[in-house]
Subunit: 194 residues, 4 copies
Amino acid sequence: MKLSEKKLKKKKEEIILSAVKIVNEKGYQGATMEEIAAELLMTKGSLYYYFKNKEDLIFQCHAMVLEQATLELESIFNKKISNEQKLKRMIASHIQYAIEKKETFNMIFKPEKTFQMEQLEPILQKRNEYSNWFDQVIEEGVKTGEFKIKELKMARMILLGAVNWIQQWHKPNGDKTTEEIQEIYSEYLLKVMT
Amino acid sequence: MKLSEKKLKKKKEEIILSAVKIVNEKGYQGATMEEIAAELLMTKGSLYYYFKNKEDLIFQCHAMVLEQATLELESIFNKKISNEQKLKRMIASHIQYAIEKKETFNMIFKPEKTFQMEQLEPILQKRNEYSNWFDQVIEEGVKTGEFKIKELKMARMILLGAVNWIQQWHKPNGDKTTEEIQEIYSEYLLKVMT
Amino acid sequence: MKLSEKKLKKKKEEIILSAVKIVNEKGYQGATMEEIAAELLMTKGSLYYYFKNKEDLIFQCHAMVLEQATLELESIFNKKISNEQKLKRMIASHIQYAIEKKETFNMIFKPEKTFQMEQLEPILQKRNEYSNWFDQVIEEGVKTGEFKIKELKMARMILLGAVNWIQQWHKPNGDKTTEEIQEIYSEYLLKVMT
Amino acid sequence: MKLSEKKLKKKKEEIILSAVKIVNEKGYQGATMEEIAAELLMTKGSLYYYFKNKEDLIFQCHAMVLEQATLELESIFNKKISNEQKLKRMIASHIQYAIEKKETFNMIFKPEKTFQMEQLEPILQKRNEYSNWFDQVIEEGVKTGEFKIKELKMARMILLGAVNWIQQWHKPNGDKTTEEIQEIYSEYLLKVMT
DNA sequence: GATGAATGAGGCTTCATTCAT
DNA sequence: TATGAATGAAGCCTCATTCAT
């Protein structure tokens, strides 16, 4: 039945969203099934109808969030604009996640050491996929002469690290708007590339 | 009694070191008093002679580590070298922590959301002290014309974020030595400043 | 409605058979409604259409199994053969249950301590009915002089105990066939009676 | 410290005894850590100071009980009496367990299907050790001509089965004393051997 | 100072049971 | 009739904390 399947999927997603929220507030260990369920006005027992156990649930959180973020990067990559522009936009996209979708963002870049090997592997792979879009743009940019760096990977690491850090200090009502931050960061970070 | 006080302090430090290690491996929630004690061939009961409770212990871990790291920055700042050189050395010092003293490092820059407000405040203050040495060097550099940036705080954030990120990807037997990483990072990051 | 009643009864029996199987594998506590239902490609919710609750279902398992086994003994008792022959055949029948219908057999002679008094009573009564056929044959045999024992009940207990125990050690591919076991057991056990 | 070790051992034994009792009343699955602890006026948490988990506790129950029972058989075997006498006494010993130490007895002869392979193996071995003393007496008896049976194992199985069954029907205030039961059973069962 | 032992709260998980559809 | 979904009680287990010795 298409309908019931859809419903199931939707519910799963709701739960995942709730879990993402709690996990980002409290971390993997700190998040409790109780709280995740309470957020949705469910009882914790119900969660086990949808997910095998806590690890499974948290794993699917990672998977889902990474999926979305990666799609966004991909679409930027496929636009017909200069590599410099692409990189700027990617940085902006990433910053927006860090600031405005703090919850989902943390999930991507705070690799908890809580997964068994079998589950950890696919996550790391998906994370690589995500980073890969940055690498590709930088590489292209180097080819076209827009960027002038030798240590590609290092440059990418600096870039991601700098941007990820934002959510450590950013506060909703700070003295800079999201746009300003995006502007300043991309300006300064592009300096690294040139 | 000077002697017994010294002994007490030494013991406390031993415990803190053990705790730092475990916390960085497992996180705040994951670290157990049992394990922290076992590391020192003690029983967990004994820990409560030295620390009021788990939170207190972990708090003092942060305090101690930050103290040390800050002293190191201070000594660099007081050397008679150019601001560019100072910044390079600070970055190098920070990178070394991130790579070779991973355990203590994490403690500085992974602010767990586990502290009550009373305890959190002094930690944040100490962290500010640490960051402050970076700010001061950058500010001096701008004054002398070595650096040319308007957004001081932002630049410092980019710098710290980039460097902090290292320990997310660095592996002991990677293809770059600590020195190479220090070299590349300070080169690329100084580009931001100029 | 004859037809729908028949259907209902058939379905109930199917469920009972499934339950018998699972209970004998896992015990009362270990058997789950989920698994019992899964065996029949149903969902556990459906079971409650046919049975009031788990206890009721398991109870009816016992009832059904005992019914069948008792009928078998009765038919042996009504044959025109010597009491010695009858007893031999009853032992053989019981052994066959123990070996080849292990699942149903366990149900008869592993009295779980899970029933409330109201439910337990009728089960014990039915079990008595079953045992009674043994008693009657032995009694008749004593009257005719075929058997020579004073403690009838004790003798029957020894007999049943010995035979019930078979399924504790019997393995499908052991070095004795069912027939051999039936032969040896009835020979040895008849020694007790004489 | 000899003393503290002794205390520990004693406590463990107390817990085991409590567990044996509960398990025999409710079975492995039915017995709860809560109840086992309550019996000793402890809290369930404390049990985990002495045993790794439920399985470990129950396993040690089996081990302890089997140990004791086996020692008893061994001492009978080493007496200077006829094999017929030995067998009679062994049966009596076993019956006494079945009747008066019901709780420990069940543990020996109700092989729960709850142990992992690693734990199950040593238990089965110990059970074999126990049965072995019966085998040896029977074998010796056959050699000396006291017993006249071909199927040794079968005879032993009949014997054990019959005796184990006692506790299924025996009630504290029945019309036979333990001594009478011992008398009748050994008389009837020795018939099988001759 | 140190520890063995106990505790109790809280977390994960299972499962019989219910009920709207 | 059947089921998908939800519930809540109960069980196992962990662990910070306490305290008598």
